[in-house]
Amino acid sequence: MEIAVISGKGGTGKSSISAAFASEHDKIVLADCDVDAANLYIIFEPEITEKSSFIGAQKAEIDYSKCTNCGTCIDYCRFDAIKFDNGKVVINEIFCDGCKLCSRICPENAISMIDNAENLLLSGNFRHGKMVYGRLAPGEENSGRLVNLVRDKAKKIAEQNNIETIIIDGPPGIGCPVISTITGVDHVVVVTEPSLSGMHDLKRTLELTNSFNLKTWVIINKFDLNSEFSDKIVEYCNHEGIDVLAKLPYDKQIVDAMVNCKSITEYLPDAEIVKIIKIALNKIINF
């Protein structure tokens, strides 16, 4: 079973909740799909047994010994990546989308595509089972692809080791990496905060999960920071037919746990919040 934990915006405590979920069981595969800011390895310090890299997007590069400065490529590039700079045709690699069109149309064959950054896929053992995570090279666009690789690897490891539950910590937003994270999972848990912007992000996120027809649950984190908005969120979820899985109180100990490189479950196994998280996870698993 794949359970994805996401939140419209980061900073809602999503990773802390994923970490707590992952600590509930002793045989789990934890997939950190927040490839742009993978963080769970900090808490769990996995022992890496496998590391592979793959090349991301390519970028165009001009060979000036061939270029005649004709400017044809400028007209073809749809990403405004090629310009005259002091009379010389130059490619701005930040804007280059790697579409390769300039290299195909250059009459002098002066443009070639070069490999850009290296993305990493890492996996190994941690104290509650197996862990997989990705590291996106800075500026890389194709994070959806890396998310898919992380998920595939997690599924493979789960199969090989007879592990039933995969916990996925997802990226923020509603774009390509999030879509890749939730496509085809069994459960999506959306973590939100009781604030005006939290509510706004939640609606946009639920729009997305609805369009994918996924079993969706909502966790309101730090619900006691603003009970008025908490109530509004509950009301909204009821109206939309979405289950509010849990309401977690604000607890400073979550940060303390993190500073000590532990999940809250490991740090304070008897805390009230840990009990609520445990019930929440069981509710999903037994659904």
């Binding site: 809602t12 390519q58 749809r78 989308d97 069109l101 706004h200």
Partner: protein, 300 residues
């Protein structure tokens, strides 16, 4: 307006953080609020196009909504001979083709609108249509504050075209305060590439430090100027401070963890509008950046 000055320099500041939720929006809305009274021709630009929510903090009305479109190919199956050249030219696997069965399909979600397939086709079988990928919304408040948001359409893969369009729509402004998308991937890069200075917001926790390092490394390769604001100071540990010292990165300010601030923010209030100390602090940060990194001559 009285008290406002016409700026003799232009400046674009991006407020960013590795992860969302570190207080990036709190700082961008507050800084903009603090400076707009004095600096004429300024704008708050929300580039977090997947989840724009700066506007929630202002009572503003929509002035103009610009549609952002991207081109996608349409294949004329009467003319198509299923040669497959368009498929070969597409670097994004957006054209699906099975020649023996005479099946060809454009997968619009994967298409980047690069135009390569149209160039490839020798049979004049591809035309292009516009498809909406989002909006750039221009707002103004009663007292003349300018706000712009880039808003990606739900289900679209990349916010980059909307972010680029949003930059263009604010090019006539002297002061631009940008709320950047989280992370260090494409949307972040396309936002900060336009900035003269980047303020990185972080928390004094291990997660915060890990994200900060990644942001700093990215900005270094881009040769950008940047400094750091530590939000929720007092929580967590001191490793972020050690890192800043060892890397010689300027600590612009610390904002203490304060339940009052959290409550103001959570109810959609601009913190600087209710807290004079913070308002003065944001003004001070802005002016020191303005004096050092503003583009004089206003050659925009």
């Amino acid at each position: 307006m009285e008290g406002k000055i016409l700026t003799d320099k232009s400046l674009k500041i991006a407020i960013a953080s590795g992860k969302g939720g570190t207080g990036k929006t709190l700082i961008s809305t507050s800084m903009f609020y603090a400076i707009q009274e004095k600096y004429e021709n300024s704008v708050l630009l929300d580039c977090d196009a997947e989840e724009p929510n700066s506007l929630l903090f202002f009572d503003a009305s929509l002035k103009e909504s610009l549609k952002v479109v991207q081109k996608v190919p349409v294949i004329d199956t009467d003319k198509c001979v299923y040669c497959g050249k368009c498929h070969d030219y597409c670097e994004y696997n957006a054209i699906f083709i099975i020649p023996p069965s005479r099946i060809i399909k454009v997968i619009e979600e994967l298409c980047h609108g690069c135009g390569a397939c149209s160039v490839a086709c020798e049979y004049d079988a591809i035309i292009e249509k516009d498809t909406e990928v989002g909006r750039v919304n221009l707002f103004v408040t009663d007292n003349g504050m300018n706000l712009v948001e880039a808003r990606m359409k739900s289900g679209v893969m990349s916010p980059v075209p909307v972010i680029k369009a949003a930059h263009k729509s604010t090019s006539d402004k002297d002061i631009v305060i940008m709320d950047s998308p989280p992370g260090t991937s494409c949307p972040f890069i396309q936002t900060v590439v336009e900035a003269d200075y980047v303020i990185l917001v972080t928390e004094p926790t291990p997660f915060g430090l890990s994200d900060l390092k990644q942001s700093v490394n990215t900005l270094k390769t881009m040769h950008k100027q940047y400094g750091v604001v530590i939000n929720r100071a007092g929580l967590g540990d001191t490793k972020v401070y050690d890192y800043l010292k060892s890397e010689n990165i300027e600590l612009l300010a610390e904002i203490p963890f304060d339940k009052e601030i959290a409550i103001l923010y959570s109810t959609g209030k601009i913190v600087a509008a209710h807290d004079d100390n913070l308002k003065a602090l944001f003004m001070k940060i802005f002016e020191s950046i303005y004096n050092s990194y503003g583009n004089s001559g206003n050659q925009r």
